[in-house]
């Protein structure tokens, strides 16, 4: 006797008469764009990853190129406008030189930015040949100074006179990729283990959940400490890097497994899964064709939110002297270098990596939040 002539779908959804069928991701993208903060964050994150990919091209100098003359040189900044003594001015991209004095008693160089000395900055300056991202041969850098031996320290120099900007850019590659790689691994374990637990339930589910609960109740630092100390001694920096990633994801998978399991549990009873089962589809097919796509967007959002934790963990490990170590350049090792009162007092620009950490983590979080909202507007 019902008046309703329509199937009871959510009021909002039916209010929209779909002119054309949007794909799930199209729909998600449209919803995502409404979060302005998330959208901005997406661009920030994308920019950071672009920097990571193009590190060699963007970094003005080699990250390990040192210079005795410019230890602890303060940031030059980049000037746009050149003012002549007669008051006229013109557009000219340049940096100012330094006036340097050595104080042998206090053991330091004092730098004064010399506005008189202008070192022009140019784009696409030729450089020593290098391989961009490891395989594209290039011999040009985005920007730099052409005058030989002229200082170019946009963000300042560290204790060895190495260009902080270049180191930051190369550190971005390591830190961001560790986050990404760690999350990918976590995702892999998380989906497989969480998926099986959620799909089959029963004793396996109980066991997995116990293990997850157990791992999560371990304080992470000792776990890292022990695992980091147990790494084979003859491993190279690269192997250590991967090992650290693995260690981080060993803990990271638990959260994702919980999310995946939860999704599987709720999806298992959904009509479309039942329908597929009645159709005689295999479990594998149901999982891969029906269930995973239906919550992939959600998983992506969860994964995005997990990356910042990895990045933070990397910096914490480096701080304790357990993670990546010099000469590897990562945000963690850069921050480790800045971990002293001297830096805070006299070279605060070396804290820039900290700002990068904050910015990327903020962006990742906003981005992840936006994704989650977009993926699942009713499931908050």
């Amino acid at each position: 006797m019902a008046v309703d002539t329509m199937t009871p779908v959510q009021a909002k959804a039916r209010a929209i008469v779909p002119a054309k069928r949007e794909s799930q991701f199209g729909l998600m993208w449209r919803r995502f764009r409404q979060h302005r903060l998330a959208l901005v964050s997406l661009w920030v994150v994308a920019a950071f990853y672009l920097v990571a990919v193009l590190a060699e091209f963007l970094a003005p100098t080699d990250p390990s190129a040192y210079s005795a003359r410019y230890t602890y040189a303060p940031p030059q900044g980049i000037q746009l406008i050149a003012t002549e003594p007669d008051g006229s001015w013109s557009f000219q991209l340049h940096v100012n030189g330094y006036k340097t004095e050595i104080d042998p008693v206090a053991l330091r160089r004092t730098f004064v930015i010399d506005p008189e000395e202008r070192i022009p900055v140019q784009f696409f300056v030729p450089s020593k040949p290098y391989l961009l991202a490891g395989f594209i041969p290039m011999s040009v850098k985005l920007m730099g100074v052409t005058e030989p031996r002229a200082p170019f320290y946009v963000l300042g120099a560290d204790r060895l006179g190495r260009d902080l900007l270049s180191r930051l850019i190369h550190g971005t590659r390591i830190s961001l990729s560790i986050g990404l790689a760690g999350v990918t691994l976590s995702l892999f374990f998380g989906i497989i283990i969480g998926g099986f637990a959620g799909f089959y339930g029963g004793w396996f589910d109980t066991a997995v959940m116990r293990v997850v609960e157990f791992i999560r109740s371990m304080p992470t630092i000792p776990l890292w400490l022990g695992l980091a100390a147990a790494m084979p001694k003859d491993w190279s920096a690269l192997q250590t890097y991967f090992a650290i990633t693995l260690i981080l994801s060993l803990i990271g998978w638990t959260e994702l497994a919980r999310v995946v399991r939860g999704r599987f549990l709720s999806l298992r009873t959904e009509d479309f899964v039942t329908a597929a089962q009645l159709d005689g589809a295999s479990d594998w097919r149901i999982i891969t064709r029906h269930m995973v796509p239906s919550f992939m967007s959600h998983i992506i959002a969860a994964a995005t939110l997990a990356i910042p934790g990895m990045i933070l963990a990397e910096t914490a490990l480096s701080f304790l002297g357990l993670g990546l170590q010099a000469p590897i350049v990562s945000w963690g090792t850069l921050l480790q270098d800045a971990q002293n009162i001297r830096t805070l007092a006299t070279a605060p620009w070396l804290l820039t990596p900290g700002i990068c950490v904050v910015v990327i983590i903020l962006s990742m979080n906003f981005f992840g939040d936006g994704l989650r909202d977009a993926a699942d507007p009713h499931g908050r």
Binding site: S67, D103, P104, N340, I341
Partner: protein
């Protein structure tokens, strides 16, 4: 504080030590009668808690000369890094034994022993103790205590290691009477006086028989039961807890253990200590020139940081540290401390390191890989590497111009300084390097410009380093990596944990390890880089085992030149006079110069100490060494606050 003249210029380092010490005066000044003591002690004497000063001081107290006669009072504040920082305590308080060094670290002078004699072949050393010296509990110190210490150190159940139980040449002690005794050695021990004048001397006076014997079953049949009752598994563990040897950390955790130090423990160094405090020893046996009992300073206050030194740095900047060099006086912090002098009410003193070199690159001459062994044993290869290093650049970048290119050699301050040894192969000359590499058989290079070794593999040296110990090592190695890479030798940095670092040594498969140049001043006692001397001679670890016999299972017969050095050094040990020893050791060094076993980078630059402006008699210039424990060797007993 005047140190305007120390700068980057080379070779100008001279010692301007506080107080011209007239050693002879020490021996003669015994008659100074008890004149004064700290007001607090005076009050205790008045109330009868403490015997009068005359009864507490020995008949012939040791007189410590000083720039000025001080006043009693004050607390000396400093900072320990972490609970296990026993080193600072040893270097500040615990350096007091039979003999000691003068402030220049050159001559052995009396301390608890009034005098001594050495026989001709340096196998017998006869000592006379200062009569009437009391432990901090007021009981007299006699030869019985020393004999007990020897007995303990030689008991395998008592975990200690020192010259007393050196199995190559163990000491035996012969008690003559309460104040006279002999040390005897099977083999000549020419350097014995230097050994016990250094930090190693403290073992022999570290255990009071009356107190410590109660934990040993020989003296107390209930020792095992007592240990169980106290919660220990065995008497040995209990003994080690109550009466730990020499400078073991937990020694300073037991306030009941009587000592002969100037200050005695008030708040012990326990695992949970946030602060370790010391108060004056009322029975201390030294006086100033006017006969006033030392020390002047009432108490020591050591804050314990929890593993990070940043808080300590801030405290020092804030004027909360009275005298300290350890932990905080880093190159990095220098500008910070320099700027903070006025606000913090302190100034900076000069500290001369005992180490010769900032970084010693030790190629493993005993490498198990025959190709690498052959290459690393090739002197030309090492010379080539040395010439390929632009040392001045490293000095400029890492040390802000402090120091000079230097090999691993005795420092200019040392009697053994030899400019040729210190300076050979230090000039940066890529062509010369290439010549030497060619002489070492390296002619072919691969596409990356790296030489190919005789097995056709590129020459790649993996260098083990502990960056946690000295952060600048990584900086230096990173620069060397680029420099050597340009010269055709690939360097890989392997930044590892300390335990691992040590574990790799016996295995023999490491390429190279990096350490600082110990033995810059104390070359004779610490010749680890001059010939395969000890386990720390990493560059020839297996040869060193042949010499010192600690791990006979991996010992290898050394090259002839090394064997010759070992022979010479054994003669050094046997020589009775300093002159003879110096002569023989110079022969050892001559072979070192010829063979060039390890590669140094630069002379370890001077460091600095933080001295509060109201702290007087403190040294404006001092060494920093372990064998010559500073600042205790600079007589802080006569320092005082104004």
């Amino acid at each position: 504080m005047k140190h305007s003249s120390f700068g980057p210029s080379r070779g100008q380092l001279s010692l301007r030590l506080a107080g011209a010490v007239a050693v002879a005066a020490l021996l003669a000044a015994g008659q100074a009668l008890a004149a004064g003591q700290a007001p607090a002690l005076e009050a205790m004497v008045a109330s009868g808690e403490l015997p009068p000063l005359e009864e507490r001081l020995p008949a012939n107290p040791l007189v410590v000369p000083a720039d000025a006669i001080g006043t009693y009072g004050g607390t000396w504040r400093m900072g320990l890094n972490g609970g296990g920082d026993n080193g600072l305590i040893v270097k500040t308080v615990a350096y007091d034994s039979l003999v000691r060094y003068d402030h220049e670290w050159k001559t052995v002078v009396p301390n608890l022993a009034e005098s001594w004699e050495v026989n001709a072949d340096a196998t017998e050393f006869t000592f006379k103790l200062r009569e009437g010296v009391k432990w901090s509990d007021g009981t007299p110190l006699t030869t019985a205590d020393l004999a007990f210490a020897v007995e303990m150190y030689q008991d395998p159940d008592y975990a200690a290691g020192s010259w007393i139980d050196n199995k190559n040449n163990p000491a035996t002690m012969e008690v003559i009477d309460d104040y006279n005794f002999k040390f005897k050695f099977g083999k000549p021990n020419g350097m014995f006086m230097e050994t016990i004048a250094g930090v190693d001397g403290i073992h022999i006076t570290s255990l009071q028989k009356a107190y410590c014997s109660q934990f040993h079953p020989t003296y107390n049949e209930n020792a095992e039961a007592d240990a169980k009752a106290a919660g220990f598994d065995s008497w040995a563990l209990y003994l080690q807890d109550r009466c730990a040897w020499g400078w073991e950390t937990i020694r300073f955790a037991n306030p009941d253990l009587p000592s002969i130090y100037a200050w005695v423990i008030e708040t012990p160094l326990t695992a949970n200590a946030q602060r370790v405090t010391w108060k004056r020893n009322p029975y201390y046996w030294k006086t100033d020139a006017e006969g006033n009992q030392l020390p002047y300073i009432d108490a020591l206050d050591m804050r314990v940081s929890q593993g990070g030194v940043e808080e300590l740095t801030l405290a020092a900047l804030n004027g909360e540290i009275d005298f300290q060099e350890r932990h905080i006086a880093t190159t990095t912090n220098k500008p910070l401390f320099f700027d903070g002098q006025e606000a913090g009410g302190y100034h900076l003193g000069e500290v001369i390191p005992s180490a010769s070199n900032t970084l010693v690159l030790q190629l493993n001459l005993n490498h198990l890989d025959p190709v690498k062994r052959e290459l690393y044993q090739n002197k030309d290869f090492r010379i080539g590497i040395s010439h390929a290093i632009d040392r001045q650049e490293i000095i400029d970048v890492v040390f802000t111009g402090q120091g000079e290119p230097f090999q691993v050699a005795p420092r200019p301050e040392s009697n053994f300084y030899d400019e040729e040894l210190a300076k050979q192969y230090t000039e940066f000359d890529p062509d010369l390097a290439a010549e030497h590499f060619a002489a070492a058989g390296l002619t072919e290079k691969n596409g990356d410009g790296i030489y190919l070794a005789s097995d056709g593999n590129p020459v790649k040296i993996t260098v083990d380093v502990i960056s946690a110990l000295r952060p600048e090592w990584i900086d230096m190695l990173e620069i060397m990596q680029l420099q050597l890479g340009a010269a055709g030798v690939e360097i890989e940095l392997n930044n590892i944990d300390r335990t691992l670092f040590y574990e790799k040594r016996p295995a023999g498969e490491f390429d190279a390890q990096v350490w600082a140049g110990d033995g810059g001043i104390e070359a004779l006692q610490e010749p680890r880089y001059y010939f395969p001397f000890s386990d720390e001679s990493v560059w020839a670890y297996r040869w060193a085992q042949w010499f010192n016999g600690t791990r006979p299972e991996i010992a290898e017969e050394p090259a002839d030149w090394a064997k010759q050095q070992m022979d010479l050094y054994n003669q050094v040990r046997a020589a009775a006079t300093p002159e003879a020893r110096a002569d023989l050791f110079n022969q050892v060094l001559a072979i070192t110069k010829e063979e060039f076993p390890v590669i140094g980078v630069s002379l370890m630059p001077n460091s600095y100490s933080i001295i509060r402006n109201n702290l007087k008699n403190a040294p404006e210039s001092m060494f920093n060494a372990w064998l010559f424990p500073t600042p205790a060797s600079m007589d802080p007993t006569v320092w005082y606050f104004e």
